[in-house]
Symmetry: C2
Subunit: 296 residues, 2 copies
C-alpha cells in the first residue's frame, strides 16, 4: 500500500470537512487552504481537526494525496490551481477527483493534472457526509492505479474499486444520483403542480395510505432545499453524462430547473439538518412562489 501520512482536502465544505474529520480521527494529518472560504467553512475545518496552510503550493507540498471535494462548478478551477501549484513547486501528490461530475469532465481534468506531472484517481462519493460511522458513506474509485485512495480504507473510509478506467467511478455516481435526486426533482414538481391545481388531496387519495413510492418521495423533500443550490450543477453534469452516451439530457436539465427554482427561494438559506422544515411548509412556499412569479 502507498504510504499516506498527509491528506489535502479542497475544500472543507460539509462533505470535505466530514471526510477530513474521519481521516484526522484515525490519525492522518489533514491539511487545507482556507483563502477565500466562508467563516462557516473555517469553523467546520477547525472542528474537524483540519490544519490550514497558506496556499495551494503549501497544500501540494504537504500532502501525499489531495482530495478535490467541491460543488461541481468549481471542480475544474480547483484542478487548474492544484496543477499550477504542482508545476510551480515540483511536488507531486496524487490528485483524487471526488466531485459529482460527468465522466468526460473528469477526463478533461485528468488531462490538466497529467500535464502538470501528477497521478490521477477518479472517485465518486455516494451517501451523506460521514459524520458518524453508521452513515455508511461509500467511496468509489476507478483508474489504472487507485492504490493511494484505497489506502484511505485503513483510515475509516469505505473504499470500493469500480474498474480500471478514469470516468467509471464518476459515472456510477452520476447514474446513482439520477435515481435519487432526479426522482426527487420529478416528485417535488408533481406535488407542487398538484397543490397549485388544488388536487393535492385527490392525488394522495389516489395513491392511498400504503403507497410506498409516494411516501418515500414525500419523505425525501424536507432535506432537499438546503442542498438544492449545489444540486443544480450536479443535475447538469448528469444531463451531460446521459447526452454523452446518446440519451436525452432533458429530464435532468429539468431536474436542474427544479433545484434552481427551489434554490431561489428562502428555503435554500437553511443549512442545518436539524432545522429541516416539514414537507407541507416546503410545498406551500413553492406553490406560493409560483403564484407570485406568475404575477410578475
Amino acid at each position: 500500500m502507498t504510504d499516506v501520512r498527509t491528506v489535502g482536502i479542497l475544500s472543507p465544505g460539509e462533505m470535505g470537512a466530514a471526510i477530513g474529520g474521519v481521516l484526522h480521527q484515525r490519525g492522518l494529518d489533514v491539511v487545507t487552504c482556507l483563502a477565500g472560504r466562508s467563516s462557516l467553512t473555517r469553523l467546520r475545518a477547525e472542528e474537524a481537526g483540519i490544519r490550514s496552510v497558506d496556499g495551494y503550493d503549501d497544500v501540494v507540498q504537504s500532502a501525499d494525496v489531495v482530495l478535490s471535494v467541491l460543488v461541481p462548478a468549481e471542480a475544474r478551477s480547483i484542478a487548474d490551481q492544484v496543477a499550477a501549484s504542482m508545476a510551480r513547486t515540483g511536488a507531486r501528490p496524487v490528485f483524487v477527483e471526488c466531485n459529482a461530475i460527468a465522466p468526460q469532465t473528469v477526463r478533461a481534468i485528468e488531462a490538466v493534472v497529467h500535464e502538470a506531472g501528477g497521478a490521477f484517481i477518479d472517485a465518486g462519493i455516494i451517501g451523506n457526509p460521514p459524520r458518524h460511522p453508521d452513515d455508511g458513506t461509500r467511496f468509489y474509485c476507478s483508474g489504472p492505479d487507485t492504490e493511494a485512495f484505497e489506502t484511505l480504507a485503513e483510515y475509516g473510509l469505505d473504499v470500493n474499486v469500480v474498474g480500471p478506467e478514469i470516468g467509471q467511478a464518476s459515472a456510477l455516481k452520476m447514474v446513482y444520483a439520477a435515481s435519487t435526486k432526479g426522482t426527487t426533482a420529478l416528485w417535488t414538481e408533481l406535488f407542487v403542480a398538484a397543490r397549485a391545481l388544488g388536487l393535492e388531496q385527490a392525488l394522495l387519495d389516489e395513491f392511498g395510505p400504503n403507497h410506498v413510492l409516494s411516501q418515500r418521495q414525500l419523505a425525501s423533500i424536507p432535506s432537499m432545499p438546503r442542498k438544492s443550490r449545489r444540486w443544480v450543477g450536479e443535475m447538469e453534469e448528469i444531463a451531460a453524462t446521459f447526452e454523452y452516451v446518446g440519451l436525452t439530457p432533458r429530464i435532468l436539465l429539468g431536474a436542474a430547473d427544479m433545484y434552481r427554482f427551489v434554490g431561489d427561494t428562502p428555503l435554500a438559506n437553511q443549512t442545518s439538518r436539524e432545522a429541516d422544515p416539514p414537507v407541507e411548509q416546503i410545498l406551500d412556499v413553492l406553490t406560493r412562489t409560483l403564484a407570485e412569479d406568475s404575477k410578475k
Copy 2:
C-alpha cells in the same frame, strides 16, 4: 340520475374497447364508428359487443353520452368532428373528454363542444383497461354537471367526482401519470446509461438486494415499450400542464424523448401483455440502439 341507454365510444382502441365491453356486459347499448380504423380495432370492438354505425352523425344521433378515448394527439380532431356532427344533426349527447391531456387543452376542446351546443364533462382514467373487474380502473370526472358520467357507475365503472371545474379531472390524471410514467422514463434512462457505461452491475450492487424503488422500477419496464408510442404525446401534455402552472416542462419533455427513443425500436411493435419481453432484453436492445445510432 340521467337516463343513459346508449353510449358512444370514440375510438375502441385497447382502453375504449375495454370500457365499451364493461358497459355492454352491464346492459348498455354501445356504439362506435369504425371508418378508417384498423382491423385490430374492428376485432376488439366486435369482441366487446360494440355496435358499429356508419359515421359520426349516427354516433351522436344514437348516443346519450359520447366518450372520447384516444391517443392525446387525436383528442382535438375527434371533438371537432363530433361537434360538427352535433351541429349538422341537431343531436346533443353529453360529450365526455376522457383523454390524457392538459387541463388547458381540455378547456379548448370544451369551447368547441359548447359552441356546437353540447354539454361537456372532463374525465381522467387511471389504471389499465378494465378487462377484469379486479383491474381496479378509476374514472375521475369534473365539471359543473357530471351526472351523465356518474350514471355509468351503475354500469360497472368506478366513477369518482374530483370537483366542479372542467380541467380538474384531467389535471389529476396528468400529475398521477407524471408519478408513474415520468418515473419509469427516468429510471429506464439511467439503467440504459449504466449499461452503456458498463456499470449496470455496480449500480445494482450499490442499490443492494432489498432496494424497493429500483426493483419496482425495473419491474415497470417490460410493459412499457408496447405503450411507449402513445406515451410520447401524454408526456408532452403533462409538460404543458406543468408549464401552465409555471413549472419547468423539461423533465416531462425528456420523458417524451425517452418514449420516442423506445418507440422507434422494434420493441414497440409488440402489442400483447402476455408477450412482454424480460427487462434484460429491453435494456439490451436499447443500449445496442444507442451504440448503432452513435455510428451514424
